[in-house]
């Protein structure tokens, strides 16, 4: 479980996050949603220490991450897997080396054991046999799956996914969502997904946090987000004409 307490973050005069407090539950896919520029990614980056918070705390299983020094944070970070928006695979390394990178850095496994683990992770994301490809030879969807394989290679306790579906076709996006959900259950991880994709919310949103104007505006699950009367959320969820029609149908059915 990850808790954030009263997080504030500014860049110069611009305050991006205002007093955000929430809990990300273990064994669940926790979604941070909101429009672009509302502070979702900044919140996630504050949680993993890529941005320093101005005030507030991030607590990993009772351990205050914000109060830790670089070495202590490094210990926590070895339990974090992160899938970046652009996958952030290392260009100069092939798929096998990318997935095995955290293991070669932090474990005492032999190269044979690392190879076995890499093969297992690649099989888990349906990329068996792609070990020798370079990232530049892989499609966007493949790169995302390699990113997931790398993120889970160390058996992390926490998985962060920054817009895992951006730039993917709907079918591949659903595949990635399913993969994230399955892995979360399988390893009993605390998963945090940053997205503005409503399909992902409907597919995997067990605990959804809506960020608006740098504040936590709403929290609930995928069912309650459809029925909430909160105007900001409704504007976000029912942004398209098609979704507005669906809302109208829901309201007609209710009445």
């Amino acid at each position: 479980m990850i808790e954030v307490h009263n997080i504030n973050k500014s860049f110069g005069d611009l305050q991006v996050l205002h007093d955000i407090s929430t809990t990300f539950e273990k064994g669940k896919v926790n979604l941070i949603i909101g429009q672009s520029g509302q502070g979702k990614s900044v919140l996630a980056k504050c949680m993993v220490g890529l941005h320093e918070v101005d005030s507030g705390n991030v607590i990993y299983e009772g351990r205050d991450f914000t109060a830790m020094n670089r070495n202590q944070r490094s210990q926590i970070r070895q339990q974090i897997g992160m899938l970046f928006q652009g996958a952030a695979l290392f260009d100069s390394l092939n798929v096998e080396e990318n997935v095995g990178f955290p293991l070669s850095m932090f474990s005492n496994k032999s190269s044979l054991e690392i190879k076995k683990r890499v093969d297992f992770c690649l099989e888990r994301v349906n990329l068996s046999g792609k070990n020798s490809l370079l990232p530049s030879e892989c499609s966007g969807g493949m790169q995302k799956r390699i990113g997931i394989a790398r993120a889970i290679s160390m058996n992390p306790k926490y998985l962060f996914c920054d817009e895992p579906n951006s730039g993917l076709d709907p079918k591949t996006a659903i595949l990635i969502d399913g993969l994230i959900q399955d892995i979360t259950k399988e390893y009993d991880m605390t998963t945090v997904v940053i997205t503005h994709d409503m399909n992902s919310v409907i597919e995997i949103g067990e605990n959804v946090i809506f960020i608006y104007d740098g504040k936590k505006w709403w929290q609930g699950d995928k069912k309650s987000i459809i029925t909430t009367d909160n105007p900001e959320i409704s504007n976000f969820v029912y942004a398209s004409e098609f979704m507005k029609e669906i809302r109208q149908n829901i309201q007609n059915t209710r009445s």
């Binding site: 944070r73 970070r77 992160m82 970046f84 952030a88 290392f90 070669s104 850095m105 932090f106």
Partner: protein
């Protein structure tokens, strides 16, 4: 920043592997350009010196002596470092800068890797190890270039040229050149890495950072050259 950069690496084996890889990228891949430049520059130094020395009061071997002095004291350590600042510096700044804007450095940090230590330290060590080798190659090839130019022009024969090179030879000049090359290696890699590591934005900014890295490295090399010359020779 320096404390983080020079921290004890997570695994010595990985540091060693990275150093070997950087030796190839920074050092071995620079051999051709250094060799080519040195041959031609040595030839030009020798020809220019021969052209200037028309007085019968100076012996012919002065051409060899001046070629040797110019090569050892300034051309090989300083001019070659300026050329390497362009080649190696832009390569480092763009490599690290691209890693920054594509979040690869963030990925390293999230994994708990000390990204500065992992990315920059092997480059610094590799450059400081290989630059002196490049400079020695440059010295030898520059003198050969001078000899070739004089032979082709038929200005001075080999015996006189070699006599000039050996005249008043001071081994400290070799040490002086190597000390300078090690210092310049550190400056080129650290300045270029700095610009790459702290780049913000996109590919356009990586290009700007790369240019800035070359300009700053060159200026810093010239300033350091003045200070080192003053400290080591006077």
């Amino acid at each position: 920043m320096l404390k983080i950069l020079f921290a004890i690496p997570a695994k010595w084996r990985i540091l060693w592997r990275r150093i070997v890889s950087e030796l190839e990228i920074i050092g071995i891949s620079s051999l051709f350009i250094v060799g080519l430049m040195s041959l031609f520059m040595g030839g030009v130094i020798a020809l220019n010196t021969a052209y200037q020395l028309t007085t019968p009061l100076l012996p012919d071997y002065t051409v060899g002596y001046i070629t040797q002095q110019s090569t050892f004291l300034e051309f090989s350590p300083t001019v070659m470092s300026l050329i390497l600042a362009g080649k190696v510096g832009s390569n480092i700044a763009s490599e690290i800068g691209t890693m920054r804007v594509t979040e690869q450095i963030d990925a390293l940090e999230i994994m708990g890797v000390n990204s500065l230590n992992y990315l920059v330290l092997p480059k610094i060590i590799a450059a400081m190890l290989f630059f002196p080798i490049l400079i020695i190659c440059s010295m030898v090839l520059s003198l050969i270039g001078g000899w070739l130019a004089l032979q082709v022009s038929g200005l001075i024969n080999t015996e006189v040229y070699v006599l000039g090179i050996r005249s008043f030879f001071d081994p400290f000049h070799i040490a002086y050149a190597l000390i300078k090359s090690v210092c310049f290696a550190f400056l080129i890699v650290s300045v270029s890495s700095y610009y790459g590591y702290y780049v913000r934005g996109g590919s356009l900014d990586v290009g700007k950072a790369s240019t800035q890295a070359i300009v700053t490295s060159s200026v810093v090399i010239l300033m350091a050259n003045f200070i080192l010359t003053k400290l080591l020779l006077f």
